[in-house]
Structure formats: C-alpha cells, structure tokens
Symmetry: C2
Subunit: 127 residues, 2 copies
C-alpha cells in the first residue's frame, strides 16, 4: 500500500473511530508525542494521553461524520460534520503523518455561521 | 502528468493568481459553470463571470498566501492566509475539478477566532 492510500485510510479511521469513542484503536493512529492545535482559540494539546482525555471529556452526546477526505503522501485534510442534538457544525481537520504512518500533528478548524456582508447580493443566492 | 499532480498545480495557481488579481489566468482555471459556496453564510455564486466579479469587488487591499495544499486525484484542499492591513485570517478552500482539470466547485470556509471554552485548561496550553 502506498503512502497516500495508507494516509487516506488513516484519515477515515481518525474520524470513524473518534465517532465510535474507540479510544484504544483511535489512539493507535497517533504518535505518542502528537500535537493538536486549535488555531481559532490558540489552544494546543501535547501528547496522545492528553488528547484522548480531551475527547473523553468533550461535553455533549456528539456524533461525527466524515464528509470528505483528501490524502497526499503523508498529509491529509478531512471535512467532518459534528452533530450535537439539533446542532450541526462543520469542522476542517488537517493531519500530518510520520513516515511510519502515525498522526503527528492535527490542526482543527471550527468555522461558525456568520451574517453575509452587505453589498454582494447582486452576485449571490442563498442555499 | 497524472491527475493528482495536475490538481496540485491548479490548487497552487488558484491561490497565487487570485493574490495577483490576474483575472484572465485565474478564470482559465475555472469551468464556465463553476459553483462557489460559503457554507457559513449559505451564499452561493454561480458561474465564472460572477465569481470573478465577486473577487474584483471584494473590499480591502487583501493579500493571499498559500500555506498548504493537499491534492488527491480531482479534489484538493487549500489552507490559505488572507491578510488585510494588520489583520490575518485563515481560510480553508475545498476544490472539485472536472476530468479535464477545470475547477467546477469551490467551498470556502472562513474560521474566526473564538474564546477557548472553560474547563479544559488542565489539558491545553496557549500558543
């Protein structure tokens, strides 16, 4: 299996095993010194154990669905949907993997809805 | 050149030619019926001419820098930085290409900073 295919499978498993809260299997995808960053809050979590704990403690009965994966050698981007009750959010996750195929860096973006700026209604419609 | 390499070059050019405001060259990357979506505002723009016009009219002396590209067959994800004056924002752009290598669908996310939720300081540090 080439690096891109391995990365693609790991990216899918990252989302699916997180949704299943299968912490041993999810943790096996990560390097021990994985770094997880949330650029919007400037938070950073260092290490597999802390990152598993972060997800174990994450509030709400959330469900995560993998919408799209692009993989290229040892990098991937995931587009996932994160649902809690009636709320649904998109999240965009960037993964960097080691040569052995373990996830060493995760960058997680959580874009929130915002009001459409005025002055461009002549070019846009709304979904 | 294989599809992934062609997509990778197109994704880089998408960002670089947009930054250069080279509308003829940027437009040549797009299919005539390209669809551009902003999920956060639910805005949609249909067609190459409207999308070029949207960017021509976009306010501010903005500069765009391509930070990362992941390309996979006829899909790509770009992570770009959008700078206006002293403000810097990340944007995450998902591209879908036709079999001929033209961009047919663009989904653009603009994550904004938000306050770190309380209760996870024991697991995080701040950058």
């Amino acid at each position: 299996m080439d690096a891109t295919e391995q990365t693609r499978r790991t990216a899918h498993a990252y989302g699916e095993l997180l949704d299943m809260r299968d912490w041993p299997a999810w943790g096996a995808l990560l390097s021990d010194d994985v770094v997880y960053e949330l650029p919007q809050t400037r938070e950073r979590i260092r290490g597999k154990q802390a990152l598993i704990q972060f997800n174990v403690e994450y509030p709400g009965d959330w469900q995560l669905t993998v919408r799209r994966v692009v993989a290229d050698s040892r990098e991937a981007a995931l587009w996932v949907t994160f649902d809690v009750g009636d709320d649904s959010h998109d999240a965009l996750v960037w993964l960097e993997l080691t040569g052995d195929g373990l996830i060493s860096k995760i960058t997680d973006f959580w874009p929130e809805p915002y009001d459409a700026p005025a002055g461009r209604e002549h070019l846009t419609d709304r979904s």
